[in-house]
Point group: C2
Chain length 502, copies 2
Amino acid sequence: MSANSAFGKIAELGRKLEALEHAQSMLSVDEAVMMPVGGGEKRAESMSMLAGMYHEMATAAEVGDWLADAESEPLDDMQRAAIAEQRRIYTNMTCLSADFVRRQVAARVRSEQLWRELRAKDDWAGFLPAFEGVVAIAREEAQLRAAALGLDPYDAMMEQYDPGNRAADIAPVLDRLKSFLKDFVPAAVAHQEAKRARRPLKPLNAPFPIEKQKALGLAVMEAIGFDFDHGRLDVSHHPFCGGVPTDVRMTTRYTTGEFISSLMGIIHETGHGLYEQGLPKEWSHFAIGKARGMAIHESQSLFMEKQVGRSAEFWEWAMPLIREHLGADAIAGWDIEDLLAHVHEVRTGLIRVDADEATYPLHVILRFEIEKGLIEDTIRPRDVPEEWHSRMVAYLGLETRDNYRDGPMQDVHWPSGAFGYFPSYTLGAMIAAQLWSAMEKDMPNLRDEVRHGRFVDINAWRRDKIWTQGSRYSTPDLLVRATGEKLNAAHFEAHLRQRYLS
Amino acid sequence: MSANSAFGKIAELGRKLEALEHAQSMLSVDEAVMMPVGGGEKRAESMSMLAGMYHEMATAAEVGDWLADAESEPLDDMQRAAIAEQRRIYTNMTCLSADFVRRQVAARVRSEQLWRELRAKDDWAGFLPAFEGVVAIAREEAQLRAAALGLDPYDAMMEQYDPGNRAADIAPVLDRLKSFLKDFVPAAVAHQEAKRARRPLKPLNAPFPIEKQKALGLAVMEAIGFDFDHGRLDVSHHPFCGGVPTDVRMTTRYTTGEFISSLMGIIHETGHGLYEQGLPKEWSHFAIGKARGMAIHESQSLFMEKQVGRSAEFWEWAMPLIREHLGADAIAGWDIEDLLAHVHEVRTGLIRVDADEATYPLHVILRFEIEKGLIEDTIRPRDVPEEWHSRMVAYLGLETRDNYRDGPMQDVHWPSGAFGYFPSYTLGAMIAAQLWSAMEKDMPNLRDEVRHGRFVDINAWRRDKIWTQGSRYSTPDLLVRATGEKLNAAHFEAHLRQRYLS
């Protein structure tokens, strides 16, 4: 297409938007990794100005005209798909009025600020009015989005994070998983206790110097396939994977008391990083060239961390690396079972972010049910603590009555107005397991590959099925194309049974 | 002024431009300090897009209308000065047509690329056609700027770097300095040789571990007054001072073989950094809130490095710090004269960037005379090697015939199209000396302040006279207001005599 075509104009705008995104991504990384505290105020102002410029350029009325024109231009299949995705983004960005967005930002800022203050004081009653405000705004947002997208309100919210996800499709899958886990978790804990009675958990021989842990982490990243010509590893308070596909900035944090959580964090973020590095570079200035969404992104990190990084086969390969980098004394006298006992621990708890892979989905399902009720007006904000408590008892056997800080006030998502995001975490876990199953059909020697630290074919499979697909397909369509079936909890259940009951 | 006033519109645009500058500055810092090599291509593309957006916004026709309207709005003195400076910037940015800028960029890119390749091969003849192209474009630029600004062509070029600088004013000052230095340099070398005959130069007791050098550098920066809440020190191949006034990013580089050049580099860049940190924050979104220009900026770094950092008084204070951070063995048995012998070395050489403060101005004056001739068409590009050689012989007693790499091909400035910049270096050195003289009149105990590592009053004087003035005055006006007189080489000459002949 020529530069004067509507497609060409959209491409040109895309390059400008990509430059602004590049700046925003890198400024965020710099803020977390490098910025001195006094730089924060001006940085926030600059980020806000850049975001405003981005929004103004991306939502201009003429962009709508270009899209309409491009839709009737002679395009090839990929170009047509690119315009369709661009149209979806444009609709999602323009369906809220400027006036509504101003009210929304005000409600969210008030609610999140109050949450930070009152969570520390465990003060639900003080927080409730602001929470009611942010839920009211979220319901209004859901109605506006639903009208523009022709979707149910909660689906319209999920659409922001995982295009194509519908509650009617995922609720039955999550229900099945919930039933499974309610029995599975106690069984896994009992199995673990029996094992520990035979073989007590060995303590780690701390301290582990940070420089040595870093060298170990870099060696593992390199082996997994992270491209250090197009990325690096730094330190920040909250680990993340940021930057841009040509320059992926990963972070971790270290404690000298143990090395496993930092190493697992690195493997997890490397999963995100490989996805970004594998996106189709020639489409980087179009929405279609970006990662598909939260669930698929999380499936890539969880695949690396859970399917690979916590497998027995991985540790067969990695234990020598630990001795090489941390010294022979680090895990003196350990065999692989001692190490697996650490990375396979199952323990129920109140806090989602501390949960292991077996209990985590129950935290998510609880939130999914409640936030869906909040958006659909079948649950009132004031009733959330009771809804939370009764589910915690039913799903995990834990009490949270009168414990708001470790109950409904523990997450930033709702206070900041993010409804429809939580399912992505557990969809990601299920998709990761489903990808593993599909991959094992294509590569019967898959476990041997991990056992020998060979990740070339594993990455090639994912590059082909997921990474290079960018945002060409909806989340469920991408999953079907990659695995041959719809979302199916059976793979995740089999993964858990194999790991925790054998 | 209300936001709807023309002044308000210019302020609002200023905040957007400031956000883009913030992004560009920080992306440049990241590129030098953090970016992996593979990130470069997309980074360059993003920087180029951001620069294009900046130019488009800053030079829009409506900005000219706002300026005209603001000029007749009721403004206070500072606002009026702000609009005048904004007008100056606007005129300078809009006086070249888009078509001309395209031709200019093409000529510069070709010339700079060829220069990188052919300098290594010492191939002047191969480079000449591209050099002729870039000189022709520079002459055309000078004519266009001269017409728009009502200045002589070379003055119009200098105006980009030091507003208000005129060849008619600085040429006589540089001529006087040249006459002085032609005799002074041999005398200083002879004086140095006589000293060394009595007291041989002691070698440094290397290696000096980088971590210890870094701690020493940070301690010196802190003592000098650098605000680490609003800045930091990192490592890059070419040391620089970048970032934004609220978050100044300085770099240095270390070698374990010696510690003096890195420490001097840190002190130099800290001079730049203090200036940036001291700019008037409330005007950061206007041109008037920015540093005045290259000569004043260089005067601030050279003041810290030359007037302060290489003085005997400074080392009286700093020698204990060296022993504290690098260990008692680092300069075992040294007294201050041994150290000063290292930091006061005078040696003629072919390369400008390796030159000491006594010989450096001769390198600059040579370039000033030649580039002025090139712009004014009194020197042809093909004659530059001979013009260079004859001046090197006359000014420094060195031959450069048939040595292009260490002669006219040594600097990136001309190949990249930067004509009119070179004088700023030596103007900065003279201004630094002139500021010291003026400061000493106000603070008769100035040398004692340095001797005791007390920089509060020294910085307060400069904050008042220079830093908080931003770009309110032209370079020569700022100098007169700060020191009570026009540019006067006598101060720099007295500084050199005191340091190198006593």
